[in-house]
């Protein structure tokens, strides 16, 4: 059985990479079809994501300067050998700030998307399996929230919760709970009609066992694609919130905050403070969406693309 749990001593690297295992379902097509467009996209995306994770982890080691160190003698200097990306209006080294900013972005993204998954997934599973009136009410609620501009809703929650990395992560979950709910519910609806579920029911399995041992795993397989696409969106939303002054407190190194500061100096032709933080956001979001779309094409060629 695909969803059967293994004992701890049975789990080896080999077993993780088997074609039918969770990781194997993605890694195998990535390796086998590495020369197709989808394969290339997914590898480029994975590479970008891994580099950003490394940058975020190693920021204290690789950043040449302290990202919040003010230097009045070096205000608004263009890129040079000493400051690769120039300095900002407080004389802080932009390259160091941009590296440290990866930390902030990834942290918010992980908090937001993981919490949304933790709420949306069980809710969708329950709603899809149970059906009936509860299901219809939940669908209506989730669809209504989904129809509303996510950024506005997140902004509203962010104002109430206050600033801070964790609060912003929490605020953006309101956008992604409906998304995960919908995906999980639709998959559950399809899977619960499968023959092996029927068989489990005939053997007397309890609804909870069927939901968590038989359906959950097979729904989870469709999550990574949505996960990386919504992660890209989450990074854009978080950057948008801090650009609007709703997300984080200065002097925290953050791409959105840096862009918000850069806007005031644009008229003086100071381009570097707005160009580089934007590049970082784009590289990371492009990486995540390449990975998501590449995997989508590799794993579900027939599946309609669900775009965030």
């Amino acid at each position: 059985m695909v969803g059967a749990t293994k004992r701890a001593d049975e789990i080896t690297w080999q077993s993780l990479l088997e074609p039918r295992s969770f990781l194997g379902r993605f890694l195998h097509p990535m390796i086998q079809k590495r020369r197709t467009l989808a394969g290339i996209l997914s590898w480029v995306g994975l590479g970008l994501l891994v580099s950003f994770i490394l940058i975020a982890l190693l920021a204290p080691l690789i950043a040449p300067y302290d990202p919040i160190q003010i230097n009045v003698n070096e205000v608004n200097k263009p890129p040079s050998a000493a400051h690769w990306m120039g300095t900002d209006y407080l004389g802080r080294d932009l390259f160091s700030r941009v590296l440290w900013g990866a930390r902030t972005s990834l942290l918010i993204m992980v908090v937001g998307v993981v919490i949304a998954l933790a709420i949306g997934f069980p809710l969708g599973l329950f709603s899809g399996y149970r059906g009936g009136r509860i299901d219809r009410v939940l669908v209506l609620i989730m669809d209504s929230v989904y129809a509303f501009p996510g950024l506005l809703l997140a902004a509203l929650v962010a104002v109430i919760l206050g600033k801070g990395v964790f609060n912003i992560g929490l605020a953006i979950t309101v956008i992604y709970v409906p998304l995960y709910y919908r995906v999980t519910r639709n998959q559950t609806l399809a899977i619960k009609e499968e023959l092996y579920i029927e068989a489990a029911r005939a053997l007397g399995a309890k609804p909870r066992t069927i939901m968590w041992s038989y359906i959950a795993y097979n729904v989870l397989v469709s999550i990574p694609v949505i996960f990386s696409l919504s992660a890209a969106d989450a990074i854009l939303t978080a950057a948008g919130l801090s650009f609007l002054g709703l997300g984080l407190e200065r002097p925290l190194p953050d791409w959105g905050l840096d862009l918000s500061d850069a806007q005031q100096f644009l008229d003086n032709g100071i381009w570097w403070t707005s160009v580089f933080p934007g590049f970082m956001i784009i590289l990371l979001t492009v990486g995540l969406s390449f990975l998501g779309e590449g995997l989508n094409d590799l794993v579900n060629p027939l599946l309609q693309k669900e775009r965030v």
Binding site: F148, L152, L156, R307
Partner: protein, 343 residues
Amino acid sequence: MPKRPSLLAYAISRLLLAFPMLLILLTVVFAVLRILPGDPIAALYGGRAPADVVAAARERLGLNKPVWEQYVIYLRQIFTGDFGTSLGEIYRGNSVWATVMLKLPATVELAAGGMIVASVVGIGMGVLGGVNRDRPIDVAVRLYGTIVWVIPIFWLGLMLQLIFAVALGWLPPSLRYSSNVDRPPTVTGLLTLDGLLEGNLGHVWVALQHLILPSLTLGLVLSGFFTKTVRANLLRTVSSDFVEAARARGLRWRTVVYRYAFKNALIPVVTILGLQFAILFAGAVLTERTFSWDGMGTLLLDSIESKDYTMIQGTVVIYAFIIIVISVIVDIINGLIDPRVRY
């Protein structure tokens, strides 16, 4: 053959469905503003006001009543069109409804500009990709669709300002209109349209110059989604039976694509237009901030900054109204042009 549901029946059922949706959104707004931790009054006075002032303000806003009673009052006020008066520093005492209506045209103008750019660029690129399937040009179109979609809207705005306003000086960097030119008399509030109604093309040109960069910013980001959908639809239509039949009758490939497949591939674009409005409004808030565009988004942000609780509530509720009205209209248009939807 089963009888096809009439358009009227479909429209009515769609309208009825909009009502609970509106109620849910209103409830979400209520919940976010009142049940979540955080006290609007404390926030309003920054925690420095004497206790009796705070108590009086709570009394005035009905915040001392039980939550369910507040909820009933809130719904009654909204359905009777009473949005209250502003509590903030900028608009204190002004009617919330009147203030929002004053700002709405700017947002409508920006949204319309963005939609035009998105449709033209998106449909053009999508067709280009779909017709040249799997050739380098198609790969380029697909990459464009993916990449442009994840560019932060405000960053694109800053870059366009940097290039076309700061470096080249071709277009104004921000605002809706030049301060040293007379504004056309207000009829619709849309400056380009008001200029046309006035018959003064000079004024129209000034308004258009200011509209170009914000519309491009908003439209280009949205065009990514259009590009992908149009391309995918065109490919699906091209491989359908009626296209094969047309080919079998000996029609040229080009004729088949542009005369037959094209029209059918565009039907779902109406649906995307509807889906994109929520994203459009979110994007418009960021675009407005980037270009100091004095619309509803700017109003919302200003009221958030000044803790203008009634104005925040009013603006968000009107956003919800607009979104639901648009989604109903789009669904009805969809039912009109594609009878399959009505089932």
